[in-house]
Symmetry: C2
Subunit: 256 residues, 2 copies
DNA sequence: GAACGCAATTGGTCTGACCAATTGAAAGAA
DNA sequence: TTCTTTCAATTGGTCAGACCAATTGCGTTC
């Protein structure tokens, strides 16, 4: 019965954490650094081995914390290079919503309802806040969408690109992030059926209508156009999925 | 006896975040089990040592994957007991949004704008879809809020409880989850200042107005009342924060 | 000067051990 | 019997050190 004794006890309770879990200490410390402005988007954080020593935790625990930060989209790891604070525009990962959808059986219909609710509001804000640059990007996506009418995959990219541009133009990064989170999940579902779409022209015409309403600073018209557009898109998707009946019906749950 | 068999094979790759290969396999396998219905909310997954052996990865890598699933709210770990698939109502964790807020310096104003956009839509849907049971819960929270007018902390709980009830009544769990995610962040900020509030009575009166509009199935009135309510709440919070100027100003970033 | 190659840096994984919370069955008391 | 106490097995949490793999930068070579 030889026992390899390793004495250790870490007095790292410096900055107001109430829990005793090492991995959460790591998250708290990094969050503190971010909130204090010592870590900014794009910054590289110290190497794991060094940071682990500084925080007084093992590298495994440190990596647990970093993994959490990565999971919620705050951190990007590059093998051989380092760990970096996420840069670029604020973004909520769609994976959590996707997983929730799988767990609770969200229907495509409910997802579209959520998307419409958010995007209608976003369109209204865009009409109020869009800058000339925002309008330019929207117009560009619009053009690209028209140009891709005979290429469903490419079309879909610019379709969502337009909606993303509207989100940015709203001037509210929170709503924009939420919008993209929902769109991301629907985009994945859409990719499987877009080949059978036949109303692409009609859809992009409505994009144009939305764009014009925003450019005219007419919030009500922008909301109305977006609402109409997404309702029609939902019907189109439903029709496409219907034409594929028999291959996969994993998403219909009405359990309360 | 519930040995969950898991075949090792090609990744299905969904979210291209910076997770390692082994870790990603773990996440994908668990997601598969969920999507196939072999794991349901509340279920316990096999012990880590056993599951690691089944998947052919080390326990460390397995734990990386489980940590990711925990981060996005799919998994709950109970020390000494096991890992469980999240149960209860669908819920998006507010931590990612909170971290985004810290990273990009979201102002309370923008957060309120997002909250108002979502909740106005939610209120409209609630007016259309609320059941008698939903109305009962809303009424109950309303009563509790009135009863707690002299107890700010308790008041705040039922304040948000009412909004949550409206979210549930909307019949759309996606929107409801998003609404709570935003509210969670604002709730944390609100806790620090609620002691100085003096318009509580007025606020809960507006809750009553919203409730009546929903009960009357008047979606437009519900939206209008919610919009008005949240605009006033925002002004009240701004006033409270102003009265505290000088102690802590970590949240105002106007990226020049 | 450009292309190649090697070595240092750094994240990713593995192994095995020990710590800590939970659980349930065995032992003991009422 | 029935309840309480005790303790050992189970299981998640952490640690340590090693090695693998991708990246990067510098020095060599042509």
């Amino acid at each position: 019965m030889t026992s390899i004794k390793i004495a250790r006890f870490q007095p790292v309770n410096s900055s107001g954490n109430g829990n005793g879990l090492m991995t959460e200490q790591v998250v708290d410390q990094v969050r503190l650094l971010i909130q204090q402005g010592k870590l900014r988007p794009g910054d590289r954080i110290p190497p794991e081995r060094e940071l682990a020593r500084q925080l007084g935790v093992s590298r495994a625990s440190l990596r647990s914390g970093l993994r959490y930060l990565g999971a919620i989209g705050v951190l990007n790891s590059r093998h051989g290079s380092g760990n970096f604070i996420a840069d670029g525009p604020p973004s909520l990962d769609g994976a959590p919503l996707n997983m929730l959808a799988a767990l609770h059986g969200f229907t495509t219909r409910k997802m579209f309802e959520a998307r419409r609710s958010v995007e209608v509001a976003v369109a209204g804000l865009a009409a109020e806040h869009a800058t000339e640059e925002h309008l330019r990007i929207m117009a560009e996506e619009l053009t690209e969408t028209y140009a891709a009418l005979d290429n469903p995959q490419e079309y879909l990219i610019h379709d969502f690109g337009f909606h993303r541009a509207v989100g940015v133009a709203s001037g509210n990064p929170i709503l924009s992030s939420i919008m993209e989170m929902i769109s991301e999940v629907l985009y994945q579902r859409r990719c499987k059926t877009v080949g059978r779409s036949r109303d692409l022209k009609e859809s992009v015409d409505m994009h144009r209508k939305i764009y014009r309403a925003i450019r005219a600073r007419n919030a009500d018209a922008a909301r109305a156009a977006m609402s109409e557009h997404l309702m029609m898109a939902e019907q189109a998707l439903a029709a496409e999925e219907l034409s594929e009946s028999g291959s996969d019906e994993s998403n219909q749950s009405a359990a309360t």
